[in-house]
C-alpha cells in the first residue's frame, strides 16, 4: 500500500464551534493505482484530500484523530519541515479551478521552477529547461511561450495542463487530483483525462481522483470509493450509467403553435475598468439567435461554458433586455410574467436564505393573487406534494435541505403560478448523478400533468437528449445546429456537435 488512511477525523472551526468535515474515513491506495473518490459537494472529500499532506490551515481546522500512513510513515504529527519536503516531491496536488489555483501575479515559469528550486539544489537555467520539458510532456505545444506567460493569458485547459506539469515535475509517488476537470469545458475535460492517464503510465503515478461525476471517474479509476457525510460508505468498481431518465414522452400532442419564439436575438455586454470607467470592449454573449418552442414540447439547448446559453435563458425569461432582436411570447412582445417561469442551476443559491420555504412558495401566489388567503396553505401542500416533498418542509429554511430537495422546492416555486413555459437553466448539473435522474423524471411527469413546455439548457448532451423534443447546439453566442433530437443525435452535421457527443460518451 502506498497510502493508508485509517479512521480519519477532521474538524473545522466555525462561529458555532467545531464542525466535523471528515468523520472516521478510511481509505487505501496501492502503488500505481487510480482510486476514484466520489461524493456530493460538501461530503468531506476535499477535506480528506487536503488532510493527506496536512494542507488544512491551522486557523480553519484540525485533524483530530486517525492515521495517514504514506510509504510506511504516519504523516500525522510529522514536523512541518518534513511534511514540506514531501509536498510537491512525493505527494502533489491538482485543484479544481486552475484560474484561482495559479498565482495571478507570477508567470507560469516562475511558479513551476519554484518547485524545483524549493526541493532540489539546481541552477535556474536547468530548472527552466526542466520546466519547459514538463510543460511539453503536459502536451503544451508552445511550451517556451507558456513558460513566460501569466496565468490570465492562458485558456482554462492550458492552465490545468500547466498545473499538471507543475504537480508532476518531480515525479511524485502520489498525485491528488481534486475535481481537476470540473471547471473546464466538456470537450477539454476528455483531453485532460487522457493526459492524466498518459502521465500515470509514463511516471508510474498513483492517483487519487476526486470528483462528483461518477461517470467521469469510471473512465480513469479502477476502484471508486463513495463518500457521504464524512465517511467512505462503499466501493464501486465501475461507473453508473448516465441518468436513467424516464423514457422520453412520446410527442403525440403535435402542436403547430409557437408558445415562445426568438428572432435574431442579440445581447452584448460592455466591459469597463478603473476609476474613470473606460470602456474596454464588448462581449457578444448572444449573437443572433433564432429559436422557437411549440406548446407542450421541450427545446433543449446544449453548449459549453461561455457559449452564451445562460444569457439566452435569461433573455428568454425576460431578465435581460436584448440588445437587438425580438422575442414573442405566445405571439406577444411583452412577457406575461406568470406564464413564463424559470428553474435555475444552483439550488443552493436560488432560494433566499433568509426566507422560510412557506414564504418562498407563497410569494408567487401573493403577487399574482392565485389562491384565496384561506386556501394558500392547502395550495402550498399540494405543490410540495407534486414535487414529492414532505409537508413539514414549509416551516424550514433552505439550508436545512439537500441540493436535490432544494431543486424540488425551486421547481415547486416555478409551477406555483401555473405557468405555460419553464426555462430550465442547467437544472441538474450541480446535483449528484443519482439525483439527476430523479429530477429529470419529475420534470417529465410535471410536463405531462400540467401541460408545460420547457426550454432545457445543459452542457451535457446526453441529459438534453433524454428530455428534449428538439435540440439546438450553441457555440460562441450562435446556434450552429438545430433540429429533432434524434436526428441531431444520430446524424450531427457539425464537427463541434460530434465533439460534444464524444466527450459526453467518455
Amino acid at each position: 500500500m502506498l497510502l493508508e488512511i485509517n479512521n480519519l477525523q477532521v474538524n473545522y472551526f466555525s462561529a458555532r464551534g467545531k464542525t466535523p468535515a471528515v468523520c472516521g474515513a478510511s481509505l487505501a491506495i496501492k502503488k500505481g493505482e487510480v482510486l476514484g473518490l466520489v461524493g456530493e459537494s460538501a461530503c468531506g472529500k476535499s477535506t480528506l484530500a487536503l488532510s493527506i499532506a496536512n494542507l488544512i490551515s491551522p486557523h480553519e481546522g484540525k485533524i483530530a484523530e486517525g492515521e495517514i500512513i504514506f510509504n510506511n510513515r504516519n504523516l500525522i504529527g510529522l514536523p512541518e519541515k518534513e511534511l514540506r519536503a514531501l509536498r510537491g516531491r512525493e505527494i502533489s496536488y491538482i485543484f479544481q479551478d486552475p484560474s484561482s489555483a495559479l498565482n495571478p501575479v507570477y508567470t507560469i515559469g516562475e511558479q513551476i521552477t519554484e518547485v524545483l528550486l524549493g526541493h532540489e539544489n539546481i541552477s535556474k537555467e536547468s530548472a527552466k529547461e526542466k520546466a519547459i520539458q514538463a510543460l511539453k510532456s503536459a502536451q503544451l505545444a508552445d511550451a517556451e511561450r507558456v513558460f513566460s506567460c501569466y496565468p490570465h493569458q492562458l485558456s482554462g485547459g492550458m492552465k490545468q495542463r500547466s498545473m499538471i506539469a507543475m504537480a508532476t515535475i518531480l515525479k511524485p509517488k502520489l498525485l491528488i487530483a481534486d475535481e481537476p476537470t470540473t471547471a473546464l469545458d466538456v470537450t477539454v475535460q476528455a483531453k485532460i483525462i487522457e493526459l492524466l492517464i498518459k502521465l500515470k503510465n509514463e511516471l508510474g503515478l498513483s492517483i487519487l481522483f476526486i470528483t462528483h461525476d461518477l461517470n467521469l471517474v469510471s473512465t480513469i479509476a479502477s476502484r471508486i470509493a463513495v463518500m457521504e457525510k464524512g465517511k467512505i460508505i462503499r466501493y464501486e468498481t465501475k461507473g453508473l450509467s448516465k441518468p436513467a431518465a424516464a423514457e422520453k414522452r412520446k410527442t403525440e400532442t403535435q402542436s403547430k403553435e409557437n408558445v415562445l419564439e426568438a428572432k435574431n436575438l442579440k445581447k452584448y455586454f460592455a466591459v469597463e475598468t478603473g476609476f474613470f470607467r473606460r470602456e474596454k470592449g464588448i462581449v457578444k454573449a448572444v449573437d443572433g439567435v433564432d429559436i422557437s418552442l411549440k406548446y407542450g414540447q421541450t427545446l433543449g439547448i446544449v453548449g459549453e461554458t461561455g457559449s452564451g446559453k445562460t444569457t439566452l435563458a435569461k433573455l428568454l425569461a425576460g431578465l435581460y433586455t436584448p440588445t437587438e432582436g425580438k422575442i414573442y411570447y405566445e405571439g406577444n412582445k411583452k412577457i406575461i410574467r406568470k406564464d413564463f417561469q424559470m428553474v435555475f442551476q444552483h439550488p443552493f443559491d436560488s432560494l433566499n436564505p433568509r426566507m422560510k420555504i412557506e414564504d418562498i412558495l407563497k410569494e408567487g401566489l401573493l403577487i399574482h393573487k392565485i389562491a384565496e388567503p384561506s386556501n394558500i396553505k392547502q395550495r402550498l401542500c399540494d405543490l410540495l406534494d407534486m414535487v414529492q416533498m414532505p409537508k413539514d418542509s414549509l416551516d424550514r429554511f433552505p439550508h436545512e435541505f439537500s441540493g436535490g430537495q432544494r431543486q424540488r422546492i425551486a421547481i415547486a416555486r416555478a409551477i406555483s403560478v401555473e405557468p405555460k413555459v419553464i426555462i430550465c437553466d442547467e437544472p441538474v448539473s450541480s446535483l449528484d448523478v443519482s439525483i439527476q435522474g430523479k429530477i429529470l423524471q419529475l420534470l417529465l411527469e410535471l410536463q405531462e400533468r400540467l401541460n408545460l413546455s420547457y426550454v432545457f439548457i445543459s452542457h451535457d448532451i446526453l441529459i438534453v437528449k433524454a428530455i428534449s423534443t428538439t435540440i439546438a447546439v450553441m457555440y460562441q453566442g450562435k446556434i450552429i445546429e438545430q433540429g429533432e433530437a434524434s436526428q441531431i443525435f444520430e446524424h450531427p452535421a457539425q464537427e463541434y456537435t460530434k465533439e460534444l457527443m464524444s466527450a459526453a460518451r467518455y
Binding site: 431578465l319 413564463f340 442551476q345 443559491d349 433566499n352 436564505p353 410569494e363 408567487g364 403577487i367 403560478v417
Partner: protein, 268 residues
C-alpha cells in the same frame, strides 16, 4: 459572535454608553446646566467626581449629558447617511445602466471633495447647531454606504433567488425590500457602527475649530474645546471629555471590527 473578547469589550462599552445616555438624569447627580460661579474650576473631589468647569458646572454630569448629544449626533448622522446611501446605492445597483452611471458619477463627485472640508464649510456657512451638524455629516458621508450597497446589490442581483423573484413577477420594491436588503444588511451594519464613531470624532473636530455644537448644550466636543483653553492647569477639563470620546470611539470600532469579521469577511 462574542467569542472574540475584544468584540465583547466593544459591545459592553457601546451598551454601557447607551444606558448612560438614556438614564443620564439618574446617573449625573447634578444639573449639568447649573451655574455656580463660587464653585468654578474645582478639581475632582467626592462632590464633583470630574471637577467643575469655568462656570462652576459639574463636569461629570456634563459629560453624562454630553453622551446624549454626542451619541444622538452619531446615530442620526449615520441614519441619514445610510438612508441616502440605501436609496442611491440600491437604485443604482438595481436598475444599472444610465441611472447607475449618473448616480455613481454623483458619488464620484462627492468623493472628490475632502469631506471634512465640505462639512466644515457647510456647517460654518449654515449654522452650527446640532441639527445642521447631523444633517451635514449625514449628507456628506453617504457615498461609502451607497457604494457598499450598490456593490452588495450588484452581487446579490446575480444571485439566482433574486432572478427567481423577478421571474415570479415580484415588483422592484418587493425585491429590494424583501430580498436584497435583508441579505445585504451585514456590511451596512458594520459601516453604520464605524460611522457612528467617525461622526462623534467629526463633531469634536468641528468643536475644536469653534463650529461644533454650541453651548449651552453640552457635547463632548465642546466640553473638550472649553477644556482646551485651560491646558496645563485644569487637567480634568481636558482629560475627561477626551477620554470619553476615546473610549466611545474605541468601543464602536471594536464592535464594528467584530461585526465585520462576522458579516464581511466571509469564511469559506
Amino acid at each position: 459572535m462574542f467569542k472574540n473578547k475584544l468584540t465583547l469589550f466593544g459591545a459592553i462599552i457601546v451598551g454601557a454608553l447607551a444606558i448612560i445616555a438614556i438614564f443620564a438624569p439618574f446617573i449625573s447627580g447634578h444639573d449639568p446646566a447649573a451655574i455656580d460661579i463660587q464653585q468654578a474650576l474645582l478639581a475632582p473631589s467626592s462632590a464633583h467626581l470630574f471637577g467643575t468647569d469655568q462656570l462652576g458646572r459639574d463636569l461629570f454630569s456634563r459629560i453624562v449629558y454630553g453622551a446624549r448629544v454626542s451619541l444622538v449626533i452619531g446615530f442620526v448622522a449615520v441614519g441619514i447617511s445610510i438612508v441616502i446611501g440605501l436609496a442611491i446605492g440600491s437604485i443604482a445597483g438595481y436598475y444599472g445602466g444610465r441611472v447607475d452611471s449618473v448616480l455613481m458619477r454623483l458619488v464620484d463627485i462627492m468623493l472628490c471633495f475632502p469631506s471634512f472640508f465640505l462639512i466644515l464649510a457647510l456647517v460654518a456657512i449654515l449654522e452650527p447647531n446640532i441639527i445642521i451638524i447631523m444633517v451635514v455629516i449625514g449628507a456628506t458621508s453617504w457615498m461609502g454606504p451607497a457604494r457598499l450597497i450598490r456593490a452588495e446589490i450588484l452581487s446579490l442581483k446575480e444571485r439566482e433567488f433574486i432572478q427567481a423573484a423577478k421571474v415570479l413577477g415580484a415588483s422592484d420594491f418587493r425585491i429590494i425590500t424583501r430580498h436584497l436588503i435583508p441579505n445585504g444588511i451585514g456590511p451596512i451594519l458594520v459601516n453604520a457602527v464605524l460611522g457612528i464613531a467617525a461622526a462623534i470624532l467629526i463633531e469634536s473636530s468641528l468643536s475644536f475649530l469653534g463650529i461644533g455644537v454650541q453651548p449651552p448644550s453640552p457635547s463632548w466636543g465642546n466640553i473638550l474645546m472649553e477644556g482646551k483653553s485651560t491646558l496645563g492647569v485644569c487637567w480634568w477639563l481636558l482629560l475627561f471629555p477626551g477620554v470619553a470620546i476615546f473610549i466611545t470611539v474605541m468601543g464602536y470600532n471594536l464592535l464594528g471590527e467584530g461585526l465585520r469579521q462576522r458579516y464581511v469577511v466571509r469564511d469559506k
